[in-house]
C-alpha cells in the first residue's frame, strides 16, 4: 500500500476536525478526497504529509509511519499546497534548484532533472524568469514540477486547482492526467469540485470529519440508482405536494426548480405529464453525478455544505499556519 490510514483523529481544542478516518491507497492509484471546505480534507492531508501530528490513530505513507519516521516519509512524498509556497524573488529554475538541494537530489542529476520537470509542465522557456512575473496557473504548474523533482512515491495535491480560472484548471488536469500515464506514481488529492473527482481511480467522500462513502466514481454514481429530474412548473408548491401525494416522491426546490430522484426517469416523465395536475413548463433528466452521490449520502448538496461549513474553514490548519 502506498498510503494506509487507520482511525485517524485530529482535534483542535474542542473542534473535531477529523474523526476516525481509515482508508488505503494502492501503489500507482489516483485517490481523491471529495468534500466541502471544512470537511477535514486538508487536516487529513497534513497528517499524511507529517505536518500535523494525529491526535490518535496511525498512518503509513510509502511504508513509513508518519509520526515516527517523518524524515523517511518526507523524502518520498511531493507536496503541492493550496497556497503557493514559491519564492517570488527567485527564478523558476532557482526555486527548483533550491528544492533539489534540500531534498538531496544527486548533483549529477539535478540539472537534467530540472530540465525534465520544466519540460513536462511547459515552462522551459520561462525557466530564467522571476516567479513573481508568473500567472497563477504557471505558479501552480511550477509547484507541480517541483513536487515531482525528487521522484516522490506519492504526490499530494491539496486542492490543486483552487483559485484558478476554468481554462487553467483544465490545463492543470491535463498535466496530472499525463503524469498518471507516465509514472507509476501514487497521487492523493483533495478537491471540492465534483468534476475533478471524476479524474480519480477512487474517491472518498468526506463530510464532517468522516469518510461517508468510498469507491470508484462509476460505482458511486451507479449506487445512487436513480436519475435526477428537475421540472419548472406554474406552481412549484403545488407540484411538490402533488409529487408526494400521487407518486410518493420527496421533491425539493433546488436552483429554482423542483428536483427529485426517480428510477428510470425517461419512463417516468410521460406519467408525470399525465398525472401531476400542475402545468409543467420544462423538464430535464440527468444521470446521477457525483453531486447526486454527495446528496444521496449526506442529505445535502455540496454547495449547501460549503455554506454551513465556512466558519469551520477558518480554523483549518492551513489557515492557522498562515496566521502563526
Amino acid at each position: 500500500m502506498a498510503i494506509e490510514a487507520r482511525d485517524l483523529v485530529r482535534r483542535f481544542g474542542t473542534l473535531d476536525a477529523v474523526r476516525g478516518v481509515s482508508f488505503e491507497v494502492a501503489q500507482g492509484e489516483t485517490f481523491g478526497f471529495l468534500g466541502p471546505n471544512g470537511a477535514g480534507k486538508s487536516t487529513t492531508i497534513s497528517m499524511l504529509c507529517t505536518l500535523l501530528t494525529p491526535t490518535s490513530g496511525i498512518a503509513r505513507v510509502a511504508g513509513y509511519d508518519v509520526v515516527t519516521d517523518r524524515a523517511e516519509v518526507r523524502k518520498r512524498i511531493g507536496l503541492v499546497f493550496q497556497d503557493t509556497t514559491l519564492d517570488d524573488y527567485l527564478t523558476a529554475q532557482e526555486n527548483l534548484r533550491f528544492h533539489a538541494e534540500l531534498y538531496g537530489v544527486p548533483r549529477s542529476q539535478t540539472g537534467p532533472r530540472i530540465d525534465d520537470v520544466l519540460e513536462m509542465v511547459g515552462l522551459v522557456d520561462r525557466r530564467g524568469s522571476l516567479v513573481r512575473t508568473f500567472s497563477g496557473g504557471m505558479k501552480r504548474r511550477l509547484e507541480i514540477a517541483r513536487g515531482l523533482l525528487h521522484s516522490p512515491r506519492v504526490l499530494f495535491l491539496d486542492e490543486p486547482t483552487v483559485g484558478l480560472d476554468p481554462q487553467t484548471r483544465t490545463h492543470i488536469w491535463g498535466y496530472i492526467e499525463e503524469l498518471r500515464q507516465r509514472e507509476a506514481i501514487t497521487i492523493f488529492l483533495t478537491t471540492h469540485y465534483m468534476d475533478e473527482a471524476e479524474h480519480c481511480d477512487r474517491i472518498a467522500i468526506m463530510d464532517g470529519g468522516q469518510i461517508v462513502v468510498e469507491d470508484t466514481p462509476e460505482r458511486l454514481k451507479a449506487s445512487v440508482g436513480r436519475d435526477r429530474v428537475q421540472i419548472s412548473t406554474a406552481d412549484d408548491e403545488a407540484a411538490i405536494s402533488a409529487l408526494m401525494e400521487r407518486f410518493g416522491l420527496d421533491a425539493a426546490m433546488s436552483e429554482g426548480t423542483v428536483a427529485f430522484y426517480v428510477a428510470h426517469g425517461e419512463v417516468f416523465v410521460p406519467r408525470l405529464f399525465a398525472e401531476l395536475g400542475v402545468a409543467i413548463e420544462s423538464v430535464s433528466i440527468a444521470r446521477p453525478t457525483l453531486d447526486d452521490v454527495f446528496m444521496n449520502y449526506t442529505g445535502r448538496t455540496i454547495r449547501d455544505a460549503e455554506a454551513s461549513g465556512s466558519e469551520r474553514m477558518a480554523s483549518s490548519p492551513w489557515m492557522r499556519a498562515r496566521r502563526r
Binding site: 503509513r60 511504508g63 499546497f81 532557482e94 533550491f98 531534498y103 507516465r182
Partner: protein, 319 residues
C-alpha cells in the same frame, strides 16, 4: 509494506540519461524516456552532507535575493550615511574644534558606531525576513524538506550575516572620509568584529522571528529591540560619564561590546589627545574595571552561540 522492488523493476528498463536536443513532448518515445528520467532519481539518506547542502542552499538564496534587490542595498546605506555625514557633521560643529590633532573630529568617533549600526539594521532585517517567508508560504517549503531544522536556521543566519557584512564593508570603505586610515591591521580586525556582530545579531533576529506571526510584528521588534540596542550601544555618544541609570542600561546591551572594541582599535590608529581618547574610547567598565577587548569579543561570541541555540530550538518546535 516494503514495495521498493516494484519501482526498481519498472524503472530499470530505460536508459537514465536524456538525449540532447529533445525539446518537444508528445511522441511516444519522448514520453517513454520521460518515464525513465522522472523515476530515475533516488533521494539520498539523512547524512551530514545533506545538511551541508541545505545550509549552503539557504545561504545562497539569501545572497541571490540580496543581490537582486539593488534598491534595498542603496536605501539601507542612506541611513548610516545620513547619521555619519549629516548628524556627525552637525555634532562636530557643536563640539567646536574637533577632537584634537590629525584632523579627526566627532565623525571619527561616530564611524565605528555607524558601521556597527549598519550591521545591526541589515542583520535584523535579513533575519526577520523569515516572517515574510512565512507570510508568502516559502517557509513551509523549507520546513517540510527532509533536512534538520538546524540546518535551515544555520543557513539563514549565515546568509543574513554575510549580507550584513557586505553592507558594512561598503560603509567601511568610507573610512578615509572621516580620517580613519586604511591600515591593514585595523581593517582586518574591524572586519572580524563586523562578522562576529553580524552573526550574533542575525541569530538574535532569527530567534525573535521564530515566534513572530505577522509582518506587523517587525515594527515591534524595531521599536523594542533594535532601537534600544542601537541607542544604548554607544554608537552615537560615549558611554563614559553617563548618569548612573543610563550607564547601567548600556552594560546590558550586547551591541556595546561590539562597538567598543571597534572604536578602541580605530583610536589606536588616529592621533588624538590622551584626554580625548579616554573620554571617547575609554572602553566599557564593570564596576570600575575596564573590560578587555578579548573578553568583549568572547562575550559576543557566546551570545551568538546562545541566540543560535535558541533559534534552532524554536524552529524545531514550529509545525
Amino acid at each position: 509494506m516494503s514495495q521498493a522492488p516494484i519501482d526498481e523493476v519498472a524503472r530499470r528498463d530505460e536508459p537514465p540519461s536524456r538525449p540532447p536536443g529533445s525539446g518537444a513532448t508528445g511522441t511516444p518515445t519522448v514520453k517513454a524516456r520521460h518515464r525513465a528520467d522522472l523515476a530515475a532519481v533516488r533521494v539520498a539518506g539523512g547524512r551530514w552532507q545533506d545538511d551541508v547542502r541545505a545550509v549552503t542552499m539557504v545561504w545562497r538564496r539569501e545572497l541571490i535575493r540580496f543581490s537582486r534587490n539593488r534598491l534595498r542595498i542603496i536605501t539601507s546605506l542612506v541611513q548610516p550615511i545620513l547619521f555619519l555625514f549629516v548628524l556627525g557633521t552637525g555634532l562636530s560643529s557643536l563640539m567646536g574644534r574637533g577632537l584634537g590633532a590629525g584632523g579627526s573630529d566627532f565623525k571619527t568617533f561616530m564611524f565605528p558606531g555607524v558601521v556597527a549600526m549598519t550591521v545591526l539594521f541589515t542583520a535584523i532585517f535579513s533575519s526577520v525576513s523569515i516572517v515574510w517567508d512565512r507570510e508568502f508560504g516559502f517557509l513551509r517549503e523549507m520546513l517540510v524538506a527532509p533536512v534538520h531544522r538546524g540546518a535551515l536556521v544555520v543557513g539563514k543566519c549565515a546568509g543574513g550575516a554575510t549580507v550584513a557584512t557586505i553592507q558594512a564593508l561598503i560603509m567601511l570603505a568610507l573610512a578615509g572620509l572621516v580620517h580613519v586610515p586604511y591600515a591593514p591591521s585595523l581593517i582586518f580586525s574591524l572586519v572580524g568584529e563586523m562578522v562576529l556582530a553580524a552573526v550574533m545579531i542575525t541569530a538574535l533576529g532569527t530567534a525573535l522571528a521564530s515566534r513572530m506571526a505577522q509582518v506587523e510584528s517587525f515594527q515591534v521588534v524595531m521599536q523594542f529591540v533594535v532601537l534600544p540596542l542601537f541607542f544604548l550601544s554607544g554608537a552615537l555618544f560615549p558611554l563614559r560619564s553617563l548618569p548612573a541609570w543610563l550607564a547601567v542600561l548600556t552594560k546590558f546591551d550586547p551591541l556595546a561590546y561590539v562597538v567598543d572594541p571597534m572604536r578602541r582599535e580605530v583610536f589606536d590608529h588616529v592621533r588624538a589627545a590622551p584626554a580625548v581618547r579616554t573620554l571617547f574610547a575609554g572602553g566599557v567598565t564593570w564596576n570600575g574595571w575596564s573590560v578587555p577587548i578579548g573578553l568583549e569579543l568572547g562575550l559576543t561570541a557566546a551570545l551568538a552561540a546562545l541566540f543560535l541555540g535558541i533559534a534552532i530550538y524554536a524552529f524545531g518546535k514550529t509545525d
